[in-house]
């Protein structure tokens, strides 16, 4: 129900310049900012409450899911959502793919803005930048682009569908690695994962799918496959390059026939991705979808409860942080400060609650 509401809500965000859906444009999100922010906060909060309930009652839900695994299809409802509710990156992916596969130019040297009069310039953000993503992403983005036969609306949904395949694939890998429904639900039902992957269509899930696939093969001692898929992951968005040290150490351990505590390996992967995620704050700023990097490994090792729940709190904060722009229409000044406050507020609350419970137990 929440997913359906979120999907319908997304259509209130249609850009006035988005000519392909001008009949659906209402201007609601621009003219009724307070109401829009309120609905968003309500939906996201409800989504997180349901998520926590799902995790707390995973045994109850596991019976239902085992009886009918098609229930996972409900998670895919946001595929039909308008993608630019929180981020315009999907438009940028399409523009980049168009440069290579339609104009036959190199997206690393030619910017979308150089194609004057291209209608996508009306609503594509960061059109004055060359491609930011790895060649692996640009190459595979040709699949959804070419399948859309130049129809823009179709390309949006095909891109989202294409990205959702990696979301499903990641879920299946988590199941294969952990054999834990808790881990699968922790990942697949996460509001952050669903919103950033199925609504906004961020390609971070593609990078993390290949990283997980690499570690899956590594665990099965198929080293060459593992190296290949880690390389593919790096070529999607570069970030997983920071997994290389852990990867090499694990390979050495495998060759030395040493016993490997895989949960520890995943936890170290989580920590390294978390470090890069936090360092993004110094480079530019923390984008909520970056949380997909550490979270993909945290779900493989969910026994570190403090880390798990503090990270879930952080994902809640990251989702809430969108509301400051939604309300003010600005990314700067007070809006930015409130955004930062939103990001870390739930984490602080969690730690205060945790400390409170510890104190009570001691008393």
């Amino acid at each position: 129900m929440v997913l359906l509401a979120l999907t319908l809500f997304s259509y209130l965000f249609i850009d006035p310049n988005f000519i392909y859906m001008k009949n659906l444009y209402t201007g609601f999100s621009l003219n009724f900012r307070e109401m829009t922010t309120f609905i968003y906060l309500l939906l996201i909060s409800a989504f997180f409450v349901l998520y926590i309930l799902l995790l707390k009652n995973v045994n109850f839900f596991s019976k239902k899911i085992k009886a009918n695994s098609k229930l996972f299809i409900f998670f895919l409802v946001p595929l039909i959502a308008y993608p630019a509710i929180l981020s315009f990156d999907l438009f940028n992916y399409i523009a980049t793919a168009k440069i290579l596969f339609y104009y036959h130019e190199n997206p690393y040297i030619i910017m979308p803005i150089e194609f004057i009069n291209d209608p996508v310039l009306l609503f594509t953000r960061a059109a004055n930048k060359v491609a930011l993503y790895g060649p692996g992403w640009i190459a595979i983005s040709g699949i959804p682009y070419l399948l859309s036969f130049g129809k823009y609306i179709l390309s949006i949904y095909i891109f989202k569908f294409f990205i959702s395949l990696f979301y499903i694939g990641a879920g299946m890998l988590i199941w294969k690695i952990t054999r834990s429904l808790f881990s699968v639900l922790l990942f697949m039902a996460s509001p952050l994962i669903i919103v950033e992957t199925l609504v906004s269509g961020h390609n971070d899930i593609v990078m993390m799918f290949f990283a997980l696939l690499s570690f899956y093969f590594l665990r099965n001692k198929r080293i060459y496959f593992a190296i290949f898929f880690l390389l593919v992951s790096i070529l999607i968005k570069y970030i997983t390059i920071f997994l290389i040290p852990i990867f090499i150490i694990t390979i050495i351990f495998i060759y030395q026939n040493k016993k490997i505590d895989w949960k520890n390996v995943y936890f170290i992967c989580f920590l390294s991705m978390l470090l890069i995620f936090l360092l993004a704050f110094f480079r530019e700023e923390i984008y909520p979808w970056y949380a997909i990097w550490p979270f993909s490994f945290l779900v493989l090792s969910p026994n570190h409860k403090v880390f798990l729940y503090s990270f879930i709190s952080l994902t809640f904060g990251l989702m809430l942080s969108y509301s400051s722009y939604m309300y003010s229409g600005s990314y700067f000044g007070l809006s930015h400060a409130i955004r930062m406050l939103f990001i870390f507020f739930p984490v602080v609350v969690f730690f205060l609650y945790y400390a409170f419970r510890k104190t009570i137990r001691l008393i």
Binding site: Y103, E105, I109, E114, I116
Partner: protein
């Protein structure tokens, strides 16, 4: 008397405006001089330059690649002329020309591919003006003909002004 003054003033103003327009400087910015011949990194830069033609595919990409190198070699030529390295400077201007003549055909290709070339044409036009400005300046302080006589090698007769005039003509075609 007053009438004569006004006639004089108008003549001065008109001639000033004509002079100003004939010396209007192009806003196009040429790059800084990069590695010069003789430098250890020069050979490497040549290899990278040759390889990067594969990276710069597509009509816009090729246009940018050729214009960038034409700019680079005109700056290189100018710097070498200033140091009276006539043979090397002569070769640099020739290279600049070779790259420059390939810019316009790529724009034409882009046009046949239905790409809007208005902005790029403007860039090429401004680049042509800037190149002509620089070539005219070089002509002022270089000899018409220079015989370059290296040690243990036969001399080379460099028709510097002829090359500069040819270079200017190439660029005028694109204005």
């Amino acid at each position: 008397m007053k009438f004569k003054f006004w006639i004089f003033a108008i003549i001065i103003l008109v001639s000033l405006s004509v002079l100003r327009s004939s010396h209007a400087a192009s806003s196009y910015v040429l790059p800084y001089p990069s590695e010069m011949p003789g430098s250890r990194l020069y050979e490497l830069s040549q290899v990278i330059e040759n390889l990067s033609q594969f990276w710069n595919f597509g009509s816009f990409g090729k246009f940018g690649y050729h214009l960038k190198l034409s700019d680079k070699y005109i700056v290189e030529g100018k710097t070498l002329f200033e140091y009276k390295q006539y043979l090397l400077a002569y070769e640099s201007i020739q290279k600049s020309n070779q790259y420059f003549v390939k810019t316009y055909p790529n724009l034409q290709n882009a046009k046949t591919e239905s790409k809007d070339i208005s902005e790029k044409s403007q860039v090429l036009n401004e680049a042509s003006i800037k190149h002509i400005e620089e070539l005219e300046k070089i002509k002022l302080y270089t000899p018409d003909i220079f015989v370059w006589t290296p040690e243990k090698k036969p001399p080379t007769k460099l028709q510097i002004h002829k090359l500069l005039i040819e270079s200017i003509e190439i660029r005028k075609k694109n204005q």
